[in-house]
Every structure is written in C-alpha cells, then in structure tokens.
C-alpha cells in the first residue's frame, strides 16, 4: 500500500466527522429525573420514563438545552429558536421505546465553524497545491453523502468568511459545522458467551439502562477536512472548547466523547464526491488520525486497482492499524423520523440564549490571543497553556506572582512542570506545586541562577517538601554564579590551560566550544551558568 503522502499527491481525501458528546456535567438524564452516574450498579438509575414503560412521558431537561446552546455559541453556530424533537425508530433492546428521541432537520445549533491553525509537521500532510476554497468543491448538496442524520442543508454560506491561509510554519483553515443536535443515549449491552461480543452468537445479553436517556449532543461537520491531521486537530480543539464551557468531561477513553469519521477519495481537481466509508472505534486522537490514514490509503489502493469503494461501516483496529468491515449499507435505513408529539416545539427566548452566552466564559482561542498579546508568549505556547482551563488559570496566577516575567513561567510550566505532573499522575487541578512556587522557580531560571536541567530537580524537591525554589536552591548550593567578573576569571583560567582547543576554535572548529564550557563548569564546581560561559568564551575567542 502507498503511504499517505504518496496517495495525497494524486488524490484528495474528503473527511467529515460526527462527534457525540455526553453531557456528563449534568445531574440528571435528558427526559427524566434519574441520576447520571457511571459508577452505580446496573439498572439502579432507571424510572418508567427511561425504561420506556407504557404510559410514561418525556419532560426535557432544561439544563441540557442550556448546554447545547452553549456548545453552539462556542462554535459560532446560529442558535435556532424554533426547533423540536423527533422520533427515530429502530428495533433494538438498547433503546427501551424502540425509538430514539433526537432532532430533525432543524437542530438547536446550525451552521457554525471552528478555525484550525496547523503548524509544523502536521501541516506537511496537506499537499502544497491543495485548493484554498473547500466550500466550492463540497457544496452543501453534498450533505446527503456525508450528513449524519439525513438532515437538510438550509443555508449555504453561513460559515463566515474563510479560505485556507498559508502561514510561516503551516496554515489556517476554517472547518464548517453543519449542526449540533440534542439526543438521548442508548443503554449499554453486554453479550456473554459469544466469540465476538455481538448479540448474534451470544448465549445471554445483559442490558444496563443506567446510560439510557443520558443527554447527548451530536456535532456533524461539513466534509471540509482534508487530512487525518486536520481531523485530529479538529477533535482536539473541539474537546478544548467543550471542556472550557464545562458541558462534559470529554473523555475519549471512557467514551463520553466519541467520534465517527466519514471519508471518501476523489482525483485531484474533481468536484464530485466519491463513495464514502464510515469509520468507527476511533476512540483516541491517535486512532482518529491512524484510522483515517489507513482508510485513505486503503481506498486509494482499491481505486487504483480499478475497484470500487463500497459504502460501508468499518471498524478500526488500533493494534493492527487497519480497518475491517462491520456492515455494508446497501440501502439507506428508514428510521421513519417524525416530530415527537409528546414534546412541544421549543421557542427559545433571546433572554435564555443571552444567559447561556453570559455563562460561556473565555474560550480557548480568545485566551490564547490574550496570552500571546498580554504576556508576549509564543503563539504555540499560548495555545498550549490556554488549552486546559485549569492550566491556564494556574499559569495566570503564577505569572502574576513572578517578578521576572511570564515568558519564563510559561517555559517552566510547559517544559518542566507538565512533565512532572504527567509522571506523578497530577494535573493543574491536583498539583502538589503551588503557582507561587512555580513563579519563584521561573524567576530563578530567568535570572540565570539555575539552568533548566536543575529546574527539574528543584521542581521535584518543591513538590516533595513544599518549600520555595529559592530555599531549595540555596540549601543544595545549586545557585549559579551570575557575576561576570568571577565567571570571566574562570574563562581566562580555562583558556590558558587549553591553548590547543582555543586555537582550533579560532581556526573555525566552533564545536570545540562545548568542551571548553565543560572545562569551565568543572573549574567552578558547577556553580557557573553554562550559557553565560558559552557567551563569554565566544567573546574571548574572537
């Protein structure tokens, strides 16, 4: 099979995502008062409504509506004041009523977008000759090929301005969101005694209705994505936005956020869409990328061998990095969608929508821009810090406490502290370091009083003892000599002792400077700053 970059020389991949997010931060289910819990015993959190018992009726959870409106506002969607719930019928025991309550052509949120900034390695996946306007080649009429629920496209140019724009180290591109709709989750089924964990061969199937009726929002993108990396970044960014507005714990691992990918290929320059396949089991960012990568390469091989891509649902196997057929879609399923007569149409007021907007807080993009502008951070660093609300707030507190600027705080956080948290299984919320400690450490690094290798040692000691960076540095004698006269004396002593290396440097072998710095460090018992030694050596040798 060809590699991705080989394939994308001749083919254009067209990718759309369907992302389901459980609103885990709510207290109760979508249409009843049952508790939302992942830990309770099976079938402990059930009632006549979520069990679909005869006569039971749904009552919508207002907080869930708030959550989806916030999701829509955070992704620049148009909030639809008038929308309603529909019934989607299919016979399977995970849905107690044998229909799922979901939305029809008009969802609470329509026509939004999320702008991606793609830098470095990932940007290289997109060929240099890729078209700048993706909308022109995937008009909304393409919806039926890629839409999640057979929804109708209502408005063609709602995604705002935005073409692909090349930047110094990559490109930016807006990805249109077709809709975000509200629905209820199904029960969890466990099949025992079968070889494949499917109902077909199982001796027994167990159903846990605790999850049945969990509020779920489904986001459907337009088929605007062109590389696996774009898909991965879209998902990462969406997750950051949803975390920031607090509507879900967004765990890909536990499945509270899950993603299906639709992908098709077409020859470069074509404007009609090829036959798509739908990928399941993309339950990590890596799987999302690798699954799409494999599938693009597989489809290219099929097409180049003169075959046809079948419209089918495929399962990604991360261990073997391949996709296998789950089921072939010969005909479209007929879900007999019709408006749910038990749920009156919604008529959201401006006040309601504005009160949702007021709760949004600062979104990751705005935070990144502010960090970049206010603290003079590199854009990538600003983005990394803004990604997690707890980390961002930790950073801001530490930056406020630091005497020698926020850039050093950002560096220490991203290069030292994050690694330590990861190793200790901590994060910004559960950190054993305080922002004040980190600020102190960042100041010492900024002064050149310690080097970054020592910063790791100091950070570990701070976490252990709770003491300040300064106290630890002094107690352990780690402080570097920062007085240039003292350092210059060492440099002169070393140059006098190493005339050969000095001559080599002068004759153009600048690599030898490393040896000389090492000699300086040895001469001062490690109390000097190697960076400053390096500078002083260069000055002395020219």
């Amino acid at each position: 099979m060809k590699t991705l970059s080989e394939v994308l020389r001749d083919w254009e991949a067209v990718i759309g995502l369907e992302v389901h997010t459980e609103l885990t931060t709510l207290e109760t289910k979508m249409f009843c008062g049952c508790r939302l819990s992942h830990e309770d015993d099976p079938n402990a959190d059930v009632c006549p409504v979520c069990l679909g018992l005869p006569g039971a009726l749904p009552v919508p959870n207002k907080e869930a509506i708030r959550s989806i409106v916030k999701a829509g506002l955070a992704t620049d969607c148009e909030i639809q004041k008038r929308s309603m719930f529909y019934r989607k019928h299919y016979f399977y025991p995970d849905m107690a009523k044998n229909f799922q309550t979901t939305q029809g052509p008009v969802a609470f949120c329509m026509h939004g977008h999320l702008d991606l900034e793609i830098r470095g390695q990932g940007a290289a996946e997109l060929p240099a000759d890729a078209p700048e306007d993706r909308r022109a080649s995937t008009p909304s009429s393409a919806m039926n090929a890629h839409g999640g629920t057979g929804a109708l496209a209502l408005d063609e140019d709602a995604a705002g301005e935005g073409l692909l724009t090349r930047t110094d180290d990559g490109y930016t591109v807006p990805i249109r969101i077709l809709r975000i709709h509200m629905e209820e989750d199904a029960a969890k089924m466990t099949h025992l005694g079968g070889s494949e964990g499917r109902i077909g061969g199982a001796a027994e199937s167990l159903i846990d209705y605790n999850r049945c009726g969990t509020p779920l929002i489904e986001l459907v993108t337009e088929p605007d994505l062109r590389t696996p990396e774009e898909a991965r970044l879209f998902m990462e960014k969406l997750r950051r936005v949803f975390l920031a507005i607090g509507i879900s714990d967004c765990s890909l691992e536990s499945g509270s956020m899950r993603c299906d990918g639709n992908v098709s290929l077409r020859r470069k320059g074509e404007t009609t869409l090829g036959t798509k396949t739908e990928l399941k089991n993309l339950n990590s960012f890596k799987s999302l990328h690798d699954g799409l990568e494999y599938e693009i390469c597989r489809q290219a091989q099929v097409l180049e061998e003169g075959g046809v891509v079948l419209q089918e649902t495929r399962h990604f196997e991360p261990a073997r990095k391949r996709t296998v057929v789950m089921r072939v879609k010969e005909t479209a399923d007929d879900y007999r969608l019709f408006p749910d007569p038990d749920l009156a149409p919604f008529d959201l007021s401006d006040d309601f929508i504005e009160s949702c907007r007021a709760e949004l807080g600062e979104l990751p993009d705005a935070k990144r821009d502010r960090f970049e502008a206010t603290f003079n951070l590199k854009r990538a660093d600003a983005e990394a810090l803004a990604a997690d609300p707890a980390l961002a707030s930790f950073f801001e507190t530490a930056a406020g406490a630091a005497a020698r600027g926020a850039v050093s705080v950002a560096n220490v956080l991203l290069n030292v502290v994050l690694g330590q948290w990861r190793a200790a299984g901590e994060d910004a919320k559960s950190s054993s370091l305080t922002p004040a400690q980190v600020a102190g450490l960042a100041d010492l690094v900024a002064e050149g009083a310690i080097v970054s290798a020592q910063a790791r040692e100091v950070a570990a000691a701070m976490a252990e003892t709770g003491e300040s960076a300064e106290a630890i540095v002094d107690a352990r004698g780690l402080r570097q000599e920062t007085d240039d006269d003292a350092l210059m004396a060492v440099v002169e002593q070393v140059l006098a002792a190493c005339p050969d290396q000095a001559a080599q440097y002068r004759s153009g072998n600048t690599k030898v400077i490393g040896y000389l710095v090492g000699q300086c460090m040895r001469a001062c018992n490690g109390t000097g700053n190697p960076k400053r030694f390096n500078e002083l050596l260069r000055e002395s040798l020219t």
Binding site: P48, L51, G52, L53, P54, G55, A56, L57, P58, V59, P60, R87, H89, F91, P93, A96, K97, N98, F99, I199, G200, S205, A332, D334, R336, L337, F338, P341, D342, L343, A344
Partner: protein, 498 residues
C-alpha cells in the same frame, strides 16, 4: 334501603361526610352491584376490591379523626384499562399486556383517588383503544346495558357500560377519536373529552399522543364537573410536558343557563349521509330546547371537516406505530418462548401478542411514515389539521358552542359492522375535535323514536372553554331530565345502601 346507583357523586360524598353511610359501605354496595350485574355486562377486566376497600377505610378513618373529607369521598370509580394503577394489571385489552403490572400510577387516576374516589375496577376497552365497539378486546366483549345484544361503543366501552349499568358512579376513559363521547352516547351517560392538554396523559398508555385525551363519564353533568375539578384542580402535571394549567372551578357556572349565548348548529354534520332520522330529530329537539332556554341559534359551517377522518387515519396510525414499537417481548409483556434469535422473538411475540386491528394500524403507520411516503400523507395530514383548526376558530367567532350528533346512529349489534372502513366512518362526528384539540361533550338527549335506545347530542367548545361546555350540557340535561339514568334492566340490582 335504597340502591347506591340512584345517588350522584355529590350525594355519595355528602352522605359519607355526614356519616349517613361509610365509604366502606359504598365500596361494598358498588362491589355487590358489580357482582349482580357484571355477568350480563362484562364491563371489567379486573375488580380491584382490595384497592377500593383500602381507600374507603382510609377515608372512614380520616372522618373518624375529624378531618375534612375530599370532594369525591367514597365515590366508586372505574378506570379504563389503559391507565396505570399500582396494584392492578394494565392490559389495554391486549394479550400483549395480559399480565402486565405497572410500578406506577397514572396522574389522572392518582388525582381521582386523591379526591376521594374508590378505584373499584379496571374497565374493558378495544385493544390499545383501536376500535369503536370494544369488540377488539382480547378479553371478550362488553354488553350495552340498554340492550345486551348490542355494543357499548368504544373504545372506552367498559367505562361507559359500567356507569350506565350502575356498577360505579364515575369512570375514566380516554378519547383519541371519539372513544369517550361515542360510548357515552351509546350507553346514555355523560362523557367529556376535555381540551387537549387540560388533563395529564402521564401513565395512560399512549395510542395517538397528539390526539389522546383523558376524560370522565358520569350519569349527571354535575358528576362530570366534580371529576374535572379533581383532574385539573392541582394544576398542570410536571410529568406531562403537553399539559397545561386550567385554573377553573367546573361547578361555578354550571347552573348559569344559556340565555343570550349562541349555539351553532353544524347542519353539514346533522344532515350528513349516514346520520339516522332519530339522531337528527334529537339534535333538532335539543336545539329547540336550548332556544327555549334563551340561547340564540346560528348556522355554522365547518369547512374541511370531511377531511378529518382521512387526517385522523394518517396521524393516528403513525403515532400508534411509534408508541406501540416498545412492545417487543423483551422487557415485559407477551414473550414467545423458545426463540433462537432476538428478531424471531420480537416477531413472534408481536405476531401473537397483538390482535388484528392493532396490527392493521401499526402496519398502516409504518407505511405512512416511510421515506418517500411521509410527505404525501403525514405532512398533508398535518396541513389538513391546520385547516380544520382554523375552521373551528372561525366557527367560534359566530357561536359560543357548536351542536352536532355524538354518533350518526344508536348502538349497533355485535358483529354488525365488520368492514373496518365502515367502522372508521362511524367516527365522523367526533374525530374533528381530536384533530383540532378543542373540548367536546356527549350528553344524553332521550331515546331514539325508532330504536328506543339512548341518543345523545354533542357539544363542542373552543379550546380551554370546557367549563362553558358543561353549562350548555347542564342545559340539555335539564331539558331531558328523567330520561337518563341507570339502564332500566339493571337499575337497583344489588348494591343497596342502608
């Protein structure tokens, strides 16, 4: 000694409150009447003796403790068997739910019991309320107390027959296309279909969710007013998002009379093909009687009314298909034993659990909702619905209440109508107010001059003006006083109170 079936709900409650008799004595009288009359009527699928006695004793204890009794204290109540009541089965007249016991009680039932009613029995019905004769019940037919060779109407036939036979004083029914008003008319009792949303549907097994409405049966308009106070009094039901507040006292204007009010006669329905001469005669007699009491008669047209049946037989089956999808033999209800796969189990459980009419409606709905067909039928039916609702709105600018037949004819014999479409057409007079959602009531207006069977008139009012309907119904009742009571063959049989 006198038979409890002579007493109105208000008289029973007053008697219990005054200590003339205990609630338990009333319960026993009702149970005695049931024992004596039920073999000929078969109005009930289950007599919930223990539940009735338990509630009665509770009320008697409350009285002994000096507490104020609720307004319907001690009034025997029958509940249609599509309404959940803890401690009883809810079969919906279907084999599918033959042994089904609900773990919760419907709001409407709970409110009646809270208001003092004794839940005496669960009443027979057409399977899942699909029918107009109660003949589609899996558990056998119910006889019309006025002529046991005839149907009581349907689908709430058991509820109507029980009240007409004097087995209970009040009954609850549900009306999706006339299922309260038509049996009320066949059995000579009062039956009200309130405005959609006035009474909670929570706990009532759904047939057509946008059409279904719960309402009471009684032998007197006043009893129906008391039942409505119990059903809507506590305010909208937070468990039914289509329910609305309806803050009125239904007794307040009951005796106001109709002087100066306008009654609109819907000639196109009175003169419609299939309406019998005796029914026509009764409607015109009622119109004259109302005129004599000071009402003004006006002619009213209801354009598009003839589309009601078509719209109904699209919307109803679509919603029924969806609502009945949950009966698959997996969690509860009839389950075919020994099946190898889930699909086989569901198919066979449904094939054996549902009767012919239930299957017919679900298959119709499954077809009408399928892609490519939906726009031509369901969508069109909704458009028709809008037009019909508008017709009513125009009519109510000219008239305060409309007058029309409850049914084109009096009760027919068992098996007399075997063609489903002919049976569907018999709903002509009632269906439109389910389509539009406004309230309507069937009030007995004497006996037919040809058949000698009860004939009723139907009054229809604007949405949420159900109290006005009762004022008009009381005026009709006043005009025909003495002719509507317990069916003569059963009056006084068993059920004596000291």
């Amino acid at each position: 000694m006198r038979s409890f079936d002579e007493l109105s709900a208000a008289e029973i409650a007053a008697g219990v409150a005054a200590g003339d008799f205990s609630a338990e004595e009333v319960a026993r009288a009702s149970l005695d009447a049931i024992e004596a009359r039920e073999p000929s009527i078969h109005a009930f699928l289950q007599v919930t003796e223990e539940l009735a006695l338990e509630r009665a004793r509770e009320l008697d204890r409350a009285r002994a403790a000096g507490e104020k009794l609720p307004p319907l204290a001690g009034v025997p109540l029958a509940v249609k068997d599509n309404m959940n009541l803890i401690g009883s089965r809810t079969t919906c007249g279907s084999r599918m739910l033959e042994d089904y016991e609900s773990p919760y009680t419907a709001t409407c039932v709970a409110r009646m019991v809270e208001a003092g009613c004794l839940p005496v029995a669960k009443a027979n019905m057409d399977e899942f309320a699909f029918g107009s004769s109660t003949e589609t019940s899996y558990f056998g037919k119910t006889a019309n107390p006025w002529d046991v060779e005839r149907v009581p109407g349907g689908s709430s036939g058991g509820s109507a027959a029980a009240v007409a036979a004097g087995e209970v004083t009040l009954a609850l029914g549900s009306d999706t296309g006339g299922s309260i008003r038509q049996p009320a008319s066949f059995c000579g009792v009062v039956g009200l279909k309130p405005t959609y949303g006035a009474v909670s549907r929570y706990g009532v097994v759904a047939f057509g969710s946008s059409l279904d409405q719960v309402g009471p049966f009684g032998r007197r308009v006043e009893d129906v007013a008391l039942a409505m106070n119990a059903l809507v009094g506590p305010g909208r039901d937070p468990l039914d998002s289509t329910s609305q507040d309806c803050p009125v006292d239904f007794l307040e204007h009951l005796e106001d009379g109709v002087r100066g009010l306008r009654i609109g006669v819907v000639s196109e329905l009175v003169e419609a093909r299939g309406v019998s001469a005796e029914v026509k005669a009764v409607v015109y007699a009622a119109a004259r009687a109302l005129q004599d009491q000071g009402a003004e008669l006006v002619e009213v047209a209801l354009p598009h009314i003839e589309d009601s049946i078509a719209a109904y037989y699209v919307i109803g089956p679509c919603e029924a298909f969806s609502n009945l999808a949950r009966f698959d033999g997996v969690r509860y209800g009839y389950q075919e034993p020994g099946c190898a796969t889930l699909a086989e189990q569901s198919e066979k459980s449904r094939a054996k659990g549902f009767g012919a009419e239930a299957k017919r409606r679900q298959m119709l709905g499954a077809y009408l909702l399928s892609s490519g067909v939906y726009d031509r039928y369901y969508y069109k039916a909704q458009q028709a619905r809008t037009l019909i609702t508008r017709s009513y709105a125009n009519a109510f600018e000219k008239a305060d209440v409309l007058l029309l037949p409850s049914s084109p004819r009096t009760a027919f014999k068992f098996g007399e109508i075997s063609d489903p479409t002919e049976m569907y057409a018999s709903d002509l007079c009632t269906i439109s107010s389910n389509i539009a959602g406004n309230g309507s009531i069937s009030v007995p207006a004497g006996l037919g001059r040809e058949t000698g069977l009860p004939v009723a008139v139907q009054l229809q009012g604007p949405a949420f003006k159900d109290r006005r309907l009762l004022t008009f119904a009381r005026a009709v009742e006043r005009a025909f006083e003495g002719e509507c009571a317990v069916a003569p063959a059963f009056a006084g049989k068993g059920g004596e109170l000291a």
